[in-house]
């Protein structure tokens, strides 16, 4: 369990993290989301005692990080895949971490095996690809068999097999009752991994809810219905006071209803349904909705600064002005 209480970090004038209060609970994967510059990294660094909060507190299982005895056995973190000395071998990198926390040496070989790096254990880390570096970082996090795990962008550089593996690893760690806290920019990946979300924007807490609540609250969800008896179904739904929208492909869409209600209605009136599927927006859409205002680097619509010299209505885009002349 990680508890944040009024956590604040100020760099000069800039408030990077502003009065953040939340609890990261065990037994589930908690996703930590926010646009670039929202204060995610700063928060994670404060959790690990690397940065000092300007105000407020972080507690790991009730204790301050620097009061933990052998902290790697409480909390394992993957902060930055490249947070290691490139000239040191993978084995020695893990060994020095293990020794500093009194973890037996054979555990090093074990975690190397877990992440699939046994064959390159004696190689210097600087020859590693990003994905291999990431695996080594994950090995470091698992080293102390901690109750709490923290991953910052864990899938960075991993290939699909690796992504799949880390996703299942995080889920199984959570299923064992551990606390798993993971930040990522990949909404589609988060949607598959996290059970709970903590979302921050401009240093402030925007949401601390379950995944499904988050999506429900921040986007449109509807039910899609197809039926060979479309007209009858429309009548029945209309009678029941359900608002129906006809979508382009002949399907019907009901906003905000419950599929069981419609299923029961159809059964009562002996209407055959060929589809009755609840549709939810993606996590990405929900996230965009929520954080629309707190994004730092906006890309801009691509408009030419000067009107094209040879306007060609068929292919009008930037570059036309000078490139095609």
């Amino acid at each position: 369990m990680i508890e944040l209480e009024g956590l604040t970090k100020r760099y000069g004038e800039k408030l990077a993290v502003n009065n953040l209060t939340c609890t990261v609970r065990p037994g589930m994967v908690t996703g930590f989301l926010g646009p670039n510059g929202a204060g995610k990294s700063t928060t994670m660094r404060m959790m690990l005692g690397l940065d000092r909060p300007t105000a407020g507190d972080v507690r790991i299982d009730g204790k301050h990080y620097d009061h933990l005895k052998d902290p790697l056995t409480y909390i394992g973190a993957l902060l930055d895949a490249k947070a290691m000395h490139g000239g040191r071998s993978a084995f020695n990198h893990l060994l020095c971490l293990a020794q500093s926390n009194g973890i037996p040496k054979r555990r090093v070989a074990e975690v190397l095996d877990t992440v699939g790096l046994t064959a390159v254990a004696k190689k210097k880390a600087k020859g590693f690809s990003l994905g291999m570096g990431q695996r080594l970082g994950i090995a470091g996090a698992l080293l102390g068999d901690p109750r709490i795990l923290m991953f910052d962008e864990p899938v960075n550089g991993l290939d699909p097999e690796g992504i799949h593996w880390i996703r299942n690893l995080m889920k199984s760690l959570a299923a064992q009752g551990r606390t798993v806290f993971v930040s990522s920019h990949l909404m589609s990946e988060m949607a598959l991994t996290a059970d709970h979300l903590v979302v921050i924007g401009q240093g402030r807490l925007l949401a601390d809810t379950s995944m499904s609540d988050f999506i429900e609250r921040n986007s449109r969800s509807y039910i899609r219905i197809r039926s060979p008896q479309r007209e009858r179904l429309l009548d029945v739904l209309h009678e029941a006071g359900v608002t129906v929208v006809e979508s382009g492909s002949g399907a019907l869409e009901v906003d905000g209803g419950k599929p069981e209600q419609i299923g029961e209605l159809a059964a009562q009136h002996q209407i055959v349904l060929h589809e009755l599927s609840p549709q939810q927006a993606s996590l990405e859409e929900a996230f965009m909705q929520l954080t629309a205002e707190s994004v730092e680097y906006h890309a801009h619509a691509d408009t030419p600064h000067e009107p094209p010299q040879e306007p060609s209505p068929a292919r009008q885009h930037w570059g036309d002005g000078w490139n095609r002349s």
């Binding site: 660094r45 000092r52 290691m84």
Partner: protein
């Protein structure tokens, strides 16, 4: 957190990077080889020297002449041991593993200092014996008065140079910045300050000039240095301690 765990971990760190091996071996090789060369040259020069120079001829000190260059390798060693943590990003991993920053820094410095001391002592003795062999008839013997002190002092001098560099690197973090300051400082500025009359009085309180006093057996004629060999070593120790303290205070205060 038992400090012994951290010391063991730091020992693994230091022995598992190539820079440790090459900086330390460079320190030995350069000091000894240059010392031998200068000793051999001095033997041939001796006959052409003035009386005054002959009187202050210090065979022990001459055999340590290679240290002026060899100490640079020691500086690189000291700087890299500490600043590698920062330049590679390892510091975040290290401090997450050992949040007690004092324990972390001083374990690291203890291990590196121990290693530097071992290498420094070996360098001192090897440089002395090989240097004396080159000096032929002008050689000093280890049993002569103050000679053993000078030889051991030479080893300590090398060690303290490394410790001072570690402290500076802990303050500055960047290896480039640390080396960019320390190298010219020891190689140029200290020499210049020490040789210009106006600044001589300041120059001799610099760590290398004060510390090298311990290696002198035959005092220079009209030497007006206000401290003796142990006083000089003491001044150098103070420099090293000050640098370490600065490094510790900054590490303690700042965000990793």
């Amino acid at each position: 957190m038992a400090a012994i765990q951290v010391v063991r971990s730091e020992w693994t760190k230091i022995r598992s990077v190539a820079s440790t091996v090459w900086t330390l071996s460079l320190a030995v090789v350069v000091t000894v080889a240059l010392g031998m060369l200068i000793s051999a040259l001095s033997r041939h020069e001796f006959d052409k020297m003035s009386i005054k120079d002959r009187l202050s001829f210090d065979p022990t000190f001459i055999s340590f002449a290679g240290m002026s260059l060899g100490q640079l390798a020691m500086i690189v060693f000291g700087v890299l041991v500490v600043s590698n943590e920062y330049s590679t990003g390892m510091i975040r991993t290290s401090l997450a593993a050992v949040p007690q920053r004092g324990t972390f820094l001083f374990s690291k410095i203890a291990v590196a200092t121990g290693l530097a001391l071992a290498v420094g002592m070996a360098t001192g003795f090897v440089a002395f014996f090989l240097g004396q062999a080159m000096l032929g008839s002008h050689r000093a013997s280890i049993g002569d008065p103050h000679v053993l002190r000078a030889v051991i002092g030479g080893g300590i001098y090398m060690t303290l140079i490394a410790v001072f560099s570690m402290g500076v690197a802990a303050m500055l973090r960047s290896p480039m910045l640390s080396l960019g300051i320390l190298m010219p400082f020891f190689f140029l500025i200290s020499n210049i300050l020490g040789n210009v009359d106006a600044t001589k009085k300041i120059g001799r309180f610099l760590p290398d000039q004060a510390g090298s006093k311990i290696m002198q057996v035959v005092p220079r004629i009209d030497d007006d240095t206000p401290y003796g060999p142990y006083g000089g070593l003491g001044i150098m120790v103070l420099w090293a301690l000050a640098a370490l303290l600065g490094g510790y205070v900054l590490l303690k205060r700042r965000d990793a």
